[in-house]
């Protein structure tokens, strides 16, 4: 029986076609992963390369005399009187200090004094004023302060501004760049890590160098807290009721379908809802992170409910039977035996919901969190009430900054995106750790 046609050593046509299909499918899979990885790498490189600069900032170290006759004519150190001196009173002091430093280092220039003053950020005078008002005893002495350099100068040290681009630029000149390079060589100008980016509030659109994420991070964390405190208990309680206790009938089917639908509702619709209910009807303040948190809670609930129900469903029914058969009540069986193994799934769903909420922009635009917020919200004060004043959020801050003309803000926006990604990464890491920690096997 040497039938060649049936030999196992030779693949028949059918087998060959089947194997070819498997190989092709394998290749499709690899290709898809390749595309995904490539997209991720491109995204990260582009964001990091344009945003990393936001984490470094150029400072000018100046020795500034604080003459009493200019800053406190009365000599009484009365803060109300001293506050009458505006930033316009401080700016010349800064300019003079810079000119004095240049003279001391033997640097000469063809620039006018006004152009020299333009090397220093407009924010610097305000910073200095705040510093002096906080410490009135400094008046009469000479202080050494690190003040912000103007945005273009900062850009020069980060490679964003070059001699060629300065030629065409109304706000700086090649000569100014030459001077700052010389100042940097003698250590007066320095670029270092930018804590202000993480702590300072937003700045006006003329001062990208002063803009920071402080208020946005505060607002985002505040909203995450509100979402966590509201959405987790409500979502888990809803899921437990629907999954374990609710009778199966038309009404529960209807609720189920609508929760799934809710998960697919565009987030901007939740924004309109929030505007109508929380601001127009309930009279809560616009732009307040409390309203933002409430809106995001509504948006996150379906995500939490769906994932919690999936987690509860994945607990084998035999465990429920076992608990009931030894005489546990329905609630005991759920809380002692169904919830614990479902916990990792619930937590993962919650954190994914939170991460989604953290990155959400559209609904916040509608409730006014897109406002320009110059100060930290004065929460917990009498006039602001418990849930206080306006704040922004990280994604909204990105949206805001990308709309501004100064290229310094493009860098800031990318920097904010990096922070947003860092937060998301941190949350997902927590989700994975919790999962590992609570996971049980059957």
């Amino acid at each position: 029986m040497t039938d060649v046609l049936n030999s196992l050593l030779v693949q028949d046509d059918r087998t060959r076609r089947r194997n070819a299909a498997e190989v092709r499918f394998h290749a499709y899979g690899l290709g898809a992963i390749g595309v995904a990885v490539l997209a991720l790498v491109l995204l990260l490189t582009s964001v990091v390369s344009s945003g990393i600069g936001a984490f470094r900032q150029t400072y000018i170290t100046l020795e500034i005399p604080l003459p009493e006759e200019k800053l406190d004519k009365s000599g009484r150190r009365d803060s109300a009187v001293m506050a009458r001196v505006t930033t316009f009173g401080y700016a010349p002091l800064l300019r003079d200090a810079l000119l004095a430093t240049m003279a001391q280092k033997g640097l000469t220039t063809t620039l006018s004094d006004t152009d020299i003053a333009g090397i220093i950020s407009k924010e610097a005078a305000a910073t200095m004023r705040d510093h002096v008002l906080a410490n009135p005893d400094l008046i009469g002495s000479t202080v050494t302060l690190d003040v912000l350099a103007e945005g273009r100068i900062d850009g020069y040290f980060k490679g964003r501004v070059t001699m060629e681009s300065a030629e065409l630029d109304g706000r700086t000149s090649p000569e100014a760049l030459r001077i700052v390079q010389l100042l940097a060589d003698v250590g007066v100008i320095e670029t270092r890590f930018n804590w202000r980016f993480l702590t300072a509030p937003d700045a006006s659109d003329q001062r990208p160098e002063a803009a920071g994420l402080g208020v946005a991070i505060f607002g985002s964390l505040y909203m995450m807290l509100v979402v966590l405190v509201l959405a987790l208990p409500i979502g888990v309680a809803t899921s437990i009721y629907l999954e374990e206790f609710a009778p199966r009938n038309r009404l529960s089917d209807l609720i189920e379908v609508n929760i799934s639908n809710l998960a697919a509702v565009p987030s901007i619709v939740f924004g309109i809802l929030g505007l109508a209910i929380f601001i127009n009807f309930a009279g809560l303040r616009q732009s307040s992170p409390l309203v933002g948190g409430l809106v995001l809670t509504l948006m996150t609930l379906p995500t939490i409910i769906i994932s919690t129900r999936a987690a509860l469903k994945s607990v084998p029914p035999s465990i429920r039977d076992a608990a009931l058969a030894v005489g546990a009540s329905k609630m005991q069986s759920v809380f002692h035996h169904v919830l614990p193994p479902a916990a990792p799934g619930i937590l993962t769903g919650t954190i994914i919901g939170l991460a989604q909420a953290l990155g959400e922009t559209a609904p916040l635009l509608l409730i006014g969190m897109v406002a320009f917020v110059r100060d930290y919200p004065a929460a917990f004060t009498a006039e602001a009430g418990l849930f206080g004043e306006a704040a922004t959020a990280l994604p909204v801050q990105v949206f805001n900054w990308t709309q501004r003309a100064d290229p310094g803000f493009a860098e800031r926006a990318s920097g904010a995106i990096i922070m947003l990604l860092v937060f998301l990464l941190a949350m997902n890491t927590v989700a994975i750790l919790l999962r590992r920690r609570f996971e049980r096997r059957w």
């Binding site: 039977d321 058969a325 030894v326 546990a328 002692h336």
Partner: protein, 265 residues
């Protein structure tokens, strides 16, 4: 062996434990159990046999009201344990289930330690006042379930890490830890190998001394080996009920005869 079985069963027939009269069960539109009446005696093993889907498990689950968990299930008729109607509105199924323990077809230990598995029932029913009492209850239950010697050194390892037969004995220990009077077993050996099955069967023989055991089984040999009374279910009806010995030797109903001789089922 049959003779001793018979002798023992006659000896223990004195006390009726469970009385079921005209029990019918509906699942929605399905008529699952039709008018079943049966008397189950204490300190004996009663076996329910019959082909798949004949309603024997459904009837078993009526005895501790596990059917309550199924929304569409409706039970009519009268089931009395020690003369008390268990479907009376005043009866709390939680109390009933502490009195009527149950072991399932597939071993289903909680994903917790061996100790916690056994201690759970006593804990929620407040049977132990302190740690020492609880230790005693757990040890006692595990000994009765013939599992103590195998697990005494690893009481705090997961119950799910045991072999299938050990898991099933753990489930039996868990059921008897709440000090029930009746033990319901729903095909407890169907997921086990012959050696584990033999161990469980031996265990059931011992449990009979202290409990009223009701067992559902697919295996007629098993029913013949371990039970004193046998009920044959077919298509939702109780066809024949009597001494195991008599059912297997001189069945009165032709359907019973067909089933035990392998012609149907």
């Amino acid at each position: 062996m049959k003779d001793t079985n018979l002798a023992e069963s006659v000896d223990t027939m004195v006390r009726q434990k469970i009385l079921a009269r005209n029990v019918s069960v509906h699942y929605g539109e399905t008529y699952a159990i039709k008018d079943v009446s049966v008397d189950i005696v204490a300190n004996a093993v009663t076996a329910f046999i019959g082909p798949s889907g004949c309603g024997k498990s459904t009837f078993l689950r009526c005895l501790n009201r596990m059917n309550d968990t199924i929304d569409t299930c409706r039970v009519t008729g009268d089931i009395r344990i020690d003369g008390e109607d268990i479907y009376d509105r005043k009866v709390d199924p939680v109390q009933l289930r502490a009195k009527v323990g149950m072991v399932f077809q597939k071993p289903n230990p909680f994903p917790k330690s061996i100790f916690d598995n056994v201690a759970y029932g006593p804990k929620i029913h407040g049977l132990a006042r302190n740690k020492a009492e609880m230790d005693n209850i757990v040890e006692d239950a595990l000994k009765k379930a013939a599992l103590w010697n195998e697990v005494k050194d690893r009481l705090h390892t997961p119950g799910t890490g045991l072999s299938g037969g050990q898991q099933q004995r753990l489930c039996i220990a868990r059921a008897i830890a709440t000090a029930p009077e009746v033990l319901l077993m729903d095909e407890p050996c169907s997921a086990l190998d012959p050696i584990a099955t033999a161990q469980i069967e031996e265990l059931i023989q011992e449990l009979r001394q202290s409990y009223c055991v009701v067992i559902v089984t697919h295996s007629m040999q098993q029913a013949a080996r371990i039970s004193q009374k046998t009920a044959f279910f077919h298509m939702g009806s109780l066809v024949e009920f009597g001494e195991t010995d008599r059912i297997f030797t001189t069945p009165a109903d032709p359907r019973t005869e067909s089933y035990i001789t392998g012609r149907i089922g």
